[in-house]
Symmetry: C2
Subunit: 406 residues, 2 copies
């Protein structure tokens, strides 16, 4: 059993880096606050006897030796970056539970056959740079390191510049650190476990993701003197697209979601009909056929709306991540650990994307979920109980012990 | 007849202050660019022998003496500020036509019975500070000077600070400069004159205006893991409000318009359901009963949408300007001038608000319109011909001569 109070303590200690007034965390990837938590994490790993490596995209790997160093380690961990108005648990729980399990093994003097490696993946959240799970995507070869290094945030700062500015552009080439398998603990970020009173989610699949960048070009004009029928209003166009995305997702529901999270009017003014808007779309399903249908329906709706309103709408797919089917043997291992520890559990699909979803394309991977309050995440009010976090960390540790061998 | 080339020259000379790449002008009120054009205007007035006064809200008055200085002058002019992506004519034409008519009278050695005063009213556009036509509204007593001085722009800068920063907080109390009557020349900013092939619009009325500040409070949540039915999406809510405003305006059309010109998502992120949005509404009609209906219908729609979507929507009326009915005798004077000069003309309602609409509540006022290309305004592509601008300036001059007496 891990030390529940120690795990809880480290979660709340790191929550100070980027703490917000409403009790959440604002720790955008590669920001000054991210540097603070990375420095903390590096030191904690070193104090636990781990050797820390940083790769060329800033991902951090803390290695605990095993008896058999000829085999790659079992990977655990998650991420330490957050949304602009994020919480204390999303990503953090998984990373610090990795640290906690190492501390527990150290205290108990337990050696494992295979080594264990705790990971902190760069830019899992995807809100400063697109796509989300950027570093693990590069790790599995979905993008080249150079491509990712050149991605820009809204201010035009590249990933390379951001890494250099906080001193976290490491020496290790991306992908050099190999793993035998990977297990990630995370809060559910959805309402199912809580609603069913289950402690552990045995994650067997994950939704695929479509991300688009959109731009609407209508025509700026005077709000008072331009008759309604002559308008080419970019915001009214966006409004129809937002509602179309919503009804398309509902039509394919409950196995689909669709969201417009960003929309910026160029040169806005109270008495000017909006002429240009940039926006982004996020839509998802765990079913590949539904993903295709979402893409098709969205494009058809956009084409129809644009033609009818005589505006131009550009819609570029900037990221497509296929649905994930986690490794059946690893999923069984997670389920066995939950069973042995006596926790109530159920199989579950992840609504969110995770680094484990990327890693699963090149190695056996699986995930452990614990409930979060009201299913709320990507919100400063995100919350979870100490008991559930500890239960998740115990399942993680026992899964890792089964995989690494004692 | 005024000097068409000289008028055209001064319009294009001032268009350099805040010139944009697309051929428009960005000259927000009380900005550095506004200071440039004000300095130019002051010097041009002084060179034309006028005495320039600046009032406590920065409005500028250039006085040409008359034979009878016991009576207040005939006021002419408009404004020199522009929208963020505005044109070269909106406001500028009226102000510089005032200068041109004085120069013409000077050249011809014509004295008038009453004095003539060219005005440049502060913040007519209303995009940096609300409301629009701010200084003329204070002039007629709709707001106190102190109230207006304390209004803030989006960055929190007050009107007082902005005036001081460009050195245009004048000594003259607001309202001290009296007028016998006021005539404003302006581009139509709508499509009617051009469509009917008329050169002069004899403006007999103006739309009333309702401005609202709105705020939507939904709930931020994960775009991937939050099921569609559980969402409280602020952007989907705004989208319904935008489309409701559009259909309400169309329902009361053609005598009504409604626009959402500004909408800002708080802490936006691609994979976060928007939780909070600030927006503004502009709706108008020349018919007071329709204005009441617009207000009623909009509020009812907002209440219904907010309740159904379980979000909070705050909608505050921040400005209400009643429809304008210009002084019949002055309107006749404009029409007579157009007739005598042989220009094709028609009576017309102003879709936009103008300082003359405010001034009409305390003195006889009227307006002269000239066509603008495709009815486009509040756009960098705003355009008008030299011939039409000169025709408008001639009608303005002959109206003023009739009112001031030669
Ligand atoms: N776990 C999580 O919130 N990841 C962010 C990436 C996404 O799913 O949008
Ligand atoms: N003339 C003009 O564009 N005025 C701006 C105020 C408004 O009508 O919105």
């Amino acid at each position: 059993q891990i030390d529940s109070a120690r795990l809880w303590g480290s979660i709340h200690e790191t929550a100070q880096f980027g703490a917000t007034q409403k009790g959440g965390v604002r720790r955008l990837t590669l920001s000054a606050e991210d540097k603070q938590v990375r420095d903390w994490f590096r030191k904690a790993c070193e104090n636990a006897g781990l050797e820390v490596q940083v790769d060329a995209l800033g991902s951090m790997f803390g290695l605990r030796k095993g008896r058999d160093m000829s085999k790659p380690p079992i990977g655990v961990g998650s991420h330490l970056d957050t949304q602009p108005t994020g919480g204390k648990y999303d990503g953090i729980l998984g990373t610090l539970a990795g640290l906690e399990l190492v501390r527990t093994l150290n205290d108990a003097g337990i050696e494992t056959e295979l080594p264990i490696c705790i990971c902190n993946w760069t830019n899992e959240e995807g809100s400063r740079f697109a796509p989300a799970m950027m570093a693990s995507a590069a790790y599995v070869g979905d993008f080249t390191t150079d491509d990712i290094l050149s991605r820009k945030d809204a201010e035009g700062v590249t990933v390379a510049q951001a890494l250099d500015s906080i001193g976290y552009r490491g020496d290790a080439p991306v992908g050099r650190q190999k793993f035998t398998s990977f297990v990630e603990l995370h809060i559910e970020q959805g309402p199912i476990l809580e609603a069913e009173g289950k402690t552990i989610g045995v994650v067997d699949s994950g939704q695929g993701v479509l991300w688009y960048d959109g731009k609407i070009t209508g025509f700026e004009s005077h709000a008072g003197s331009t008759p309604m029928p002559l308008r080419r209003d970019a915001l009214a166009t966006l409004s129809e697209i937002v509602l179309a995305m919503e009804s398309i997702a509902k039509k394919h529901g409950p196995k689909a979601v669709g969201t417009i999270g960003e929309a910026v009017i160029a040169a806005p003014s109270r008495n000017v009909i909006p002429g240009e808007i940039a926006f982004t779309v996020d839509c998802r399903s765990a079913d590949a056929a539904i993903m295709d249908a979402l893409d098709r329906d969205l494009r058809a709706a956009v084409t129809e709306i644009a033609a009818r309103r005589k505006v131009e709408v550009q819609l570029d797919l900037v990221w497509r991540k296929a649905p994930t089917h986690f490794d059946p043997k690893l999923v069984d291992a997670v389920e066995n650990a939950a069973k042995q520890l006596g926790y109530s559990h159920r199989r579950i699909t992840s609504g969110a994307g995770h680094d484990a979803c990327n890693l699963n394309t090149v190695m056996p991977a699986a995930m452990v979920f614990v409930p979060c309050k009201d299913g709320i995440s990507h919100n400063e009010l995100e919350d979870a109980t100490q008991t559930d976090c500890a239960a998740g960390a115990n399942v993680l540790m026992h899964t890792v012990l089964a995989l690494a061998g004692v």
